[in-house]
């Protein structure tokens, strides 16, 4: 699974470089997030701009990351969702759980709100 890691101020940005986030690669995403949290990257942005498809396993992996970040006294937020991907968060009401930002840059200004 292709994931690009960059820093933006005190946030670590994980850019998912896959068109699909499904049961085939969601465990890998979960593990990657876990590893970042374990080594102290506790403020994470997941950049979903390249993801055009997400299934319930993909949503589950993100939820796992979100909960683990909280356990680490950290924060995990989502940015740049494509409209159809965003609609999956609405359908499952997970948009009420996650903080979702239009752009990665918006996180820096509003991520602590």
């Amino acid at each position: 699974m292709q994931i690009d890691v960059t820093k933006l101020q005190d946030w670590v940005v994980l850019r998912i470089g896959e068109a699909r986030l499904d049961a085939h690669n969601s465990n890998e995403l979960k593990d990657t997030i876990q590893k970042h949290l374990d080594k102290g990257d506790t403020r994470l942005v997941i950049d979903l701009s390249q993801v055009r498809f997400i299934d319930s396993s993909g949503l589950g992996a993100l939820l796992s990351g979100y909960k683990n970040a909280n356990l680490h006294q950290g924060k995990m937020v989502l940015a740049q969702l494509q409209p159809r991907v965003e609609s999956m968060f609405e359908l499952t009401r997970l948009n009420r759980v996650f903080d979702i930002f239009p752009a990665v840059e918006d996180v820096v200004h509003g991520g602590d709100a």
């Binding site: 699909r20 049961a23 085939h24 319930s56 359908l91 499952t92 997970l94």
Partner: protein
Amino acid sequence: MTAPDDIQVDIIVPNQTRYLSLIGNIGEAIAKELDRYQGDRETLAYHLNLVLTEAMTNAIRHAHHQDASKTVRVRIHIDQDELCIEVYDQGQGFDLEDQSLPAPDTPVEHGRGLFLIRTLMDEVEYHRGEHANVLIMRKKLS
């Protein structure tokens, strides 16, 4: 029975999640050419991709327990006003009516697959059979 206007696609793939995208993409290809559908075909394409992915994932994981010697069969049948997807498994079977959605305020990681399938399709049934079980998902096209 199939009429000359029907489209029928019958697929057998290995019991592996790597083939989810193949099944999903075939579903998208069908949706995008479905000129008999009244609604937005791009949205239909996403929804078929999703329900195929969810149902096949369940067959691989819950029915076949990742057993690499098994296969998953998927049938897609389209007639004038209905699209029907069947996903077969050779597992122990389960009771569709017993599955409930996780409450939104306790964000558990699993249990949204069947909810999405039920939300996006018009009718969903699961039948246990002697040789295979089948999840049947229907959607009206007009």
